[in-house]
């Protein structure tokens, strides 16, 4: 099977306060689409308590990595370990129930549901989700629905969307949909949240709120984040460590400073001659 050509570099010490054990470990992941090698032996490690950044040029395989890790696409080779357990190619809902959530690059809200019910949908094991429960246990369903509603309103207040709770999700602005995506992941007790370009298409004010939210959640609720982002200011201020991907595999990993200085990163983004000229 395929392995990464360049050996994985040891993750350097970071300044993140909540250092912990390895939460997510990806080894030699391969995924082809016809002749396109979207993932070509990708490795990745996320430590508990970090906000890990994932950057790389377009087509580096970042989103495909998310898709394979969350069970949305099948891996053709390689392993995904979550908290030491093998979750490779489990169905998406099983992976979700282990505490691994994701958001989408282009928000995929449930358009014809209200903002409130978009969130109430998320928690698993609802009595009313089982057909017999919905038919035979209306009292218990009512009790759960009340609690879910309270919780959803709290989460909406946290992302400051509470005034829109009764609006159809399709009527939100692009940035508000991004916030809704983040809110969605907060309806359960996630351990690791994968954010796919949370800042894309978001105005600076909203962006500030988004990064503040992520930081608060990381610090106060101990949620680990893995963030794909193209906005380098956001990555540099928010993430540590930062992982760089290129052509379906990991190029390097290190602190934001180390990544910024590394000529290989510049080369991957801009091509060889620029790196030489800039260096």
């Amino acid at each position: 099977m395929t392995t990464a050509a360049n050996d994985e570099q040891p993750v350097p010490e970071t300044s993140s306060p909540a250092q912990g054990a390895r939460l997510l470990e990806v080894e030699g992941l391969v995924r082809h689409f016809d002749s396109l090698r979207a993932l070509d032996g990708a490795d990745l490690a996320v430590d508990a308590g970090t906000i890990t950044g994932l950057i790389g040029p377009n087509g580096a395989g970042k989103t495909t990595l998310f898709n394979v890790v969350t069970g949305f696409h099948l891996a053709q080779a390689g392993r995904v370990l979550f908290d030491g357990q093998d979750i490779t190619n489990l169905p998406p809902h099983r992976i979700f129930r282990r505490g691994l959530c994701r958001t989408f690059q282009i928000p995929r809200e449930h358009q014809s549901l209200s903002v409130l019910e978009n969130l109430m949908l998320v928690p698993p094991e609802q009595q009313g989700e089982r057909l017999l429960g919905a038919l035979l246990r209306p009292r218990e369903v009512r009790r759960q629905e009340r609690a879910l509603r309270e919780r959803a309103l709290e989460v909406l207040a946290f992302v400051e969307l509470d005034h829109l709770h009764d609006e159809y999700a399709r009527n939100l602005s692009g940035g508000q949909k991004k916030l809704l995506e983040l809110a969605r992941t907060l309806m359960t007790e996630p351990r690791l949240v994968l954010l796919d370009e949370p800042g894309a298409g978001v105005n600076p004010t909203l962006m500030q709120r988004l990064t503040d939210n992520i930081r608060t959640l990381n610090r106060e609720r101990g949620i680990t984040f893995l963030v794909i982002e193209h906005d380098m200011d956001m990555v540099m201020s928010l993430c540590d460590p930062v992982v760089v991907m290129s052509e379906g595999r990991q190029l390097m990993t290190g602190s934001p400073e180390a990544v910024r200085r590394d000529p290989r990163v510049l080369e991957a983004y801009l091509g060889g001659q620029y790196a030489a000229a800039g260096g």
Partner: protein, 396 residues
């Protein structure tokens, strides 16, 4: 004569009250208004309408109820989950033939040479309906496993094919349900109420109430039965759909990938909704069989048993259970009305060409197609649009 009208009025109260409940908006005063309104309607219909017209109205309401159920079943599949099921006829037929086989007595002696059937168990009506629901569910499950991997138009093509297969089986397999010949003598529930010897299990005084009825008044009894079926199934479907279960269905309809990422077992839920819809359709089939007494494969053509149902749901409002039921009655009314229209224009058609009047029946389909085009263009959400809040527990 007066006692006959009184008995009819008393029987009509049940469907009339249910009709009032269906039409009136969901307010606090609904029940308080619906009951007197229904009673008044029942007496007015019984006393004022000539018996021929009343009989027509009753048979219209029974067929309308059958279609309302089909439309309700389709709403779970299409309205809530987005299954493009063009094979409604399959589950309708399976329900009808299953209940018939369960309740008809297997023929003996010389009759056995004319009527062949795989089995005839002579079981009670309710057992037949339950079996229809069960077999329909089983078929839906077997079909769902391979077919629900398909989406939208591909699902539609597959389901059309399955409905045709089912119909052709009932057309050609003589041993199963008398092949191309009709299957006759499907028993009617509570038919003893209108017979002179009466039902043995009913006390004398209760039987006296039904004394004035003669066998040709039986449809009134059946209307009460089917109206209760519609009401109960509507309430069950509404309760299931206006809950977190229905919320999952709508979420999957909107954005399947996101529902999966929210931890919902998408395939399992999609199969569930397909099966639930099919159960309602199967029950509609059983109720149809026990009403018309004689069924054969030709009753289950896609035009009547699938596409008319789609028009009903589109008109009533996909995603709204009340809309589905209302649409069933309205489109059945339009369809019945076009029969008169087609008759009326026959002389006109004769002026154009000699053989045109024979084709007047197709004129009806033309009108229904125009109606469908009108709905899609001018009111795509239907008469009653789907509710914004799925969960009925969020009404406060």
């Amino acid at each position: 004569m007066a006692t006959l009208a009184l008995t009819k009025a008393l029987l009509l109260i049940v469907p009339a009250v249910l009709l009032a409940l269906l039409v009136l908006p969901a307010r606090r005063w609904r029940l308080a208004v619906a009951v007197p309104l229904g009673v008044a309607l029942a007496f007015a219909a019984s006393l004022a309408l000539p018996s021929g017209i009343l009989a027509y109205v009753v048979s219209f309401a029974i067929m309308g109820s059958v279609y309302a159920l089909l439309s309700l079943g389709l709403n779970v599949q299409w309205g809530y989950t987005g299954h493009l099921n063009f094979g409604v006829a399959a589950f309708f037929a399976i329900g009808a033939f299953t209940s018939a086989l369960m309740t008809v007595e297997a023929p003996t002696g010389i009759a056995a040479q004319y009527t062949q059937m795989a089995f005839g168990l002579g079981l009670p009506f309710l057992v037949g309906v339950a079996a229809a629901a069960l077999v329909s569910a089983l078929l839906a499950f077997l079909v769902a496993v391979p077919v629900l991997r398909l989406r939208l138009d591909f699902l539609a093509i597959a389901t059309i094919g399955i409905a045709e297969i089912i119909r052709l089986i009932f057309q050609n397999e003589r041993w199963l349900a008398n092949g191309p010949q009709p299957l006759r003598g499907i028993p009617q529930p509570l038919h003893c109420l209108v017979r002179s010897q009466g039902c043995d299990w009913l006390p004398e005084w209760a039987m006296a109430l039904f004394e004035p009825l003669s066998p040709r008044d039986y449809p009134l009894i059946y209307l009460v039965i089917i109206a209760l079926f519609v009401a109960v199934l509507y309430l069950l479907v509404e309760r299931a759909c206006r809950s977190p279960w229905g919320r999952m269905l709508r979420a999957i309809r909107d954005e399947e990938a996101s529902a999966a990422m929210n931890g919902k077992p998408v395939t399992f839920v999609r199969i569930q909704s397909f099966v639930v819809g099919a159960v309602v359709m199967g029950i509609a089939g059983a109720l149809y069989a026990h009403y018309v007494v004689t069924i054969d494969y030709s009753h289950f053509h896609a035009l009547f048993a699938t596409f008319l149902v789609w028009v009903m749901l589109m008109l009533g409002g996909s995603g709204n259970n009340r809309g589905a039921v209302v649409g069933g009655f309205i489109v059945w009314g339009v369809w019945s009305g076009t029969a008169f229209l087609a008759n009326a224009i026959e002389p006109l058609l004769a002026l154009i060409a000699d053989d045109l009047p024979r084709r007047a029946a197709y004129f009806r389909w033309l009108l229904v197609a125009l109606l469908l085009a009108g709905i899609v263009l001018y009111r795509p959400q239907g008469l009653l649009r789907e509710e914004k809040r799925v969960s009925r527990y969020l009404r406060e």
